[in-house]
């Protein structure tokens, strides 16, 4: 079974600064997807960024980028120019690409605080 680990329960960053959230995972599969979700106080789960394991290039979405290290099974999220609206719980998630019916496996979450 796959597992996802987020070792930072809480992180904080100053507004306009850069912060990196860590995520590691364990799998024996070679083809899979990785995701970062944002959960603001509204509780809504918002997809921030996704990475296909077969792509070597790191995914980027505006101020959000990832550092995908497949051999190390590491998938960190970098938030540049942090904004107050980035404050939220962030979840790393894994989904197998072996089966179309595969499910998301989540990490424990990292609570990000943005200080003005």
């Amino acid at each position: 079974a796959q597992t996802v680990t987020q070792s930072q329960p809480e992180m904080s960053v100053q507004e306009a600064e850069t912060v990196t959230l860590s995520c590691t995972y364990d799998t024996s599969e070679s083809d899979y997807y990785l995701f970062w979700y944002k959960q603001p106080p509204s509780r809504q789960m918002i997809l921030v960024i996704r990475q296909e394991a077969y792509k070597q290039q790191n995914a980027t979405e505006n101020r959000f980028s990832v550092n995908f290290q497949k051999a190390a099974k590491s998938f960190s999220l970098k938030i540049s120019d942090s904004q107050l609206g980035d404050a939220a719980m962030y979840f790393c998630a894994y989904r197998s690409a072996v089966s179309s019916g595969s499910r998301l496996t989540f990490g424990e979450g990292t609570q990000l605080t943005v200080n003005p």
């Binding site: 979840f91 019916g101 998301l104 990490g107």
Partner: protein, 113 residues
Amino acid sequence: IAGITQAPTSQILAAGRRMTLRCTQDMRHNAMYWYRQDLGLGLRLIHYSNTAGTTGKGEVPDGYSVSRANTDDFPLTLASAVPSQTSVYFCASRREGMNTEAFFGQGTRLTVV
């Protein structure tokens, strides 16, 4: 508005009572899921359904049951609620296929006292 809807948004329930959390999607997604979210544990899969008429157990299925009579609805039932089932419950759905995104409902906060 297309999307996935959960009801109720919050509920306080006496231990031992039966409760059904409702989930409806209008996106015609084949797959649907129920997760529970607990602090320090993230979201854990309770049950899932890859298509109407089929269901499967996730990571933490004990004390919960589901049904999938049609594509749109995926109710989660607690037969006899216990305090350890106090949690936030999320329903999600996903269109069949490898490269598709999961959509989440707004969650149900359930407190069992």
